[in-house]
């Protein structure tokens, strides 16, 4: 059951254990190969596009990510906190690595809200440049996600 911010205020919990799952709702047609997630289901992973949102499994159940306002988005994809994509080298300079990190960003209505963000040399990346590189990052993240069986969120 999702924990609202009233339980903890808005103080984030920075500790993600490797086996913690993060959840995101998706549509059936954003799934392929049985349980894989299409990269186009994910947001651009940079600050100005508000990163890619998830619910933390530590503070919510898979079903909590579902929202009756979005009935077609009735499937849940999961990402393991300890299974983030490898750092991705920038196409124009392979020495510059863009790494993934998780940030717990509680919202008033949803304490479990978190984001997958990309950092450049340890700092939040605000501009990721070309569209193909941005898509590469989304694709890398999507490849690490898997879609839960509906029985796991009913």
């Amino acid at each position: 059951m999702v924990i609202r911010s009233g339980d903890f205020g808005l103080k984030p919990d920075p500790n993600f254990s490797d086996d913690e799952k993060l959840y995101r709702r998706i549509k059936q047609d954003q799934i392929y190969d049985g349980n894989r997630v299409l990269g186009n289901a994910l947001d651009d992973i940079q600050e100005k596009h508000s990163s890619c949102s998830f619910n933390r499994g530590k503070y919510s159940d898979p079903k909590d990510v579902l929202d009756s306002n979005y009935p077609e988005h009735n499937r849940v994809a999961a990402l393991l906190a300890g299974n983030l994509p490898e750092p991705q080298p920038h196409p124009s300079d392979a020495k510059i690595l863009y790494a993934f990190r998780l940030e717990h960003l509680p919202k008033d209505s949803n304490y479990s809200h978190s984001e997958a963000q990309v950092t450049k040399q340890g700092l939040t990346a605000t501009k990721l440049g070309s569209a193909d590189f941005r898509r590469q990052l989304r694709e890398a993240l999507a490849d690490k996600m898997s879609v839960l069986d509906p029985s796991e969120h009913q």
């Binding site: 995101r24 709702r25 549509k27 047609d29 954003q30 392929y32 190969d33 894989r36 299409l38 990269g39 186009n40 289901a41 994910l42 947001d43 651009d44 596009h49 508000s50 949102s53 929202d67 306002n69 979005y70 988005h73 070309s130 569209a131 193909d132 941005r134 898509r135 590469q136 989304r138 694709e139």
Partner: protein
């Protein structure tokens, strides 16, 4: 095999025809996504054994599971020194069954890599023979569930066609393979075979034949009505820039006879046109910003290529090539 023999006997096929009208059902065993009914006209004992083995294996799958598919017909119309001269291909989705396409084929020992088409898709498979004899294949692409009656009717049609060929051969209409059997006659036979398929096949085919690109354009119209935050994560709806780019992509897909499997709104704001074939995946994503990105990937081996598209026609051709060619090229 037992079933087919019974079928042949009930249809009073002359014994000397049965001798070389060997029936088989193949499935792409690895993926379970591809089924085929083949009738061989060959006297090659080794080939017959292979066919028998495949038949037994495939029967279990076909009769105990659901099969999805579009029908297609392929005729091997002769080989010369290990090179297939041409393949006739037809389906209700292509329309003109009297047109034949010459497709280069590559031999790997006794295996032949074959590329054929059903609707606008290309599939590749390996045949189990390379004898130079004539053969006919009726295949099922994974699309729709078939009833058992449909499966039986496919078999019957294929058998009828095999008989027709056999009779032609007995009457010396075919002396050196189907090459002496006119292309036109072959096309007509193929057409009869396909057009006599049960209605649950043809009705779905007709819908597709009515124009997939019109449907694709209709899908764009549908997606244009999305509003901000359509996914609950703040996604923007596709704007006119993305929609116009997607229309251009569809135009080029039509030219290349490559139908997208899905057209989706992108979480970034834009339109994604997606292509799937077994473990291959392709996509063209048109952004609201006016940028276009294309992707090809093979899921089992991790191959992935992503590029910013500067020429939509080139990107479409590259994706089509990716789906047509063997994995080894990538």
């Amino acid at each position: 095999m037992e079933y087919v023999t019974e079928e042949a006997l009930t249809r009073s096929i002359p014994p000397n025809v049965v001798d070389f009208a060997i029936a088989s059902i193949y499935t792409e065993l690895g993926s379970g996504s591809f089924a085929e009914v083949s009738f061989f006209q060959t006297s090659d004992d080794d080939v017959c054994l292979q066919v028998l083995s495949a038949e037994q294996h495939a029967q279990n799958i076909l009769w105990n599971s659901h099969v999805y598919g579009w029908p297609w017909v392929v005729g091997n119309i002769g080989q010369t020194e290990g090179v297939v001269v041409a393949w006739a291909h037809s389906s209700p989705f292509i329309g003109n069954l009297e047109q034949f396409t010459r497709i280069p084929l590559y031999f790997h020992g006794s295996m032949t890599a074959l590329v054929t088409t059903g609707r606008s898709k290309f599939i590749s498979r390996k045949t189990r023979y390379s004898t130079g004899d004539t053969s006919l294949h009726i295949g099922i692409l994974p699309r729709h569930k078939l009833s058992k009656d449909t499966e039986i009717n496919i078999r019957r049609n294929a058998m009828s066609l095999a008989m027709e060929w056999s009779n032609a051969r007995l009457n010396n209409d075919i002396t050196r393979g189907i090459a002496d059997y006119s292309y036109k006659n072959f096309a007509q036979v193929s057409y009869r075979c396909v057009s006599s398929l049960p209605s649950d096949f043809i009705s779905k085919g007709d819908k597709v034949k009515s124009s997939w690109h019109d449907k694709a354009l209709g899908k764009l119209d549908e997606l244009s009505s999305l509003t901000t935050n359509w996914n609950g994560y703040g996604a923007e709806p596709p704007n006119s820039a993305a929609l116009n780019l997607a229309r251009t992509v569809i135009k080029d897909l039509k030219i290349n006879n490559l139908e997208p499997d899905r057209i989706l709104s992108s979480a970034v704001g834009g339109i994604s046109l997606c292509f799937f074939m077994q473990k291959k995946y392709g996509e063209i994503e048109c952004y609201n910003t006016g940028e276009v990105v294309a992707i090809i990937k093979i899921t089992p081996n991790g191959f992935r290529e992503i590029w910013e598209v500067s020429s939509i026609p080139d990107a479409v051709k590259k994706i089509k090539k990716f789906f047509v060619e063997e994995h080894t090229e990538w």
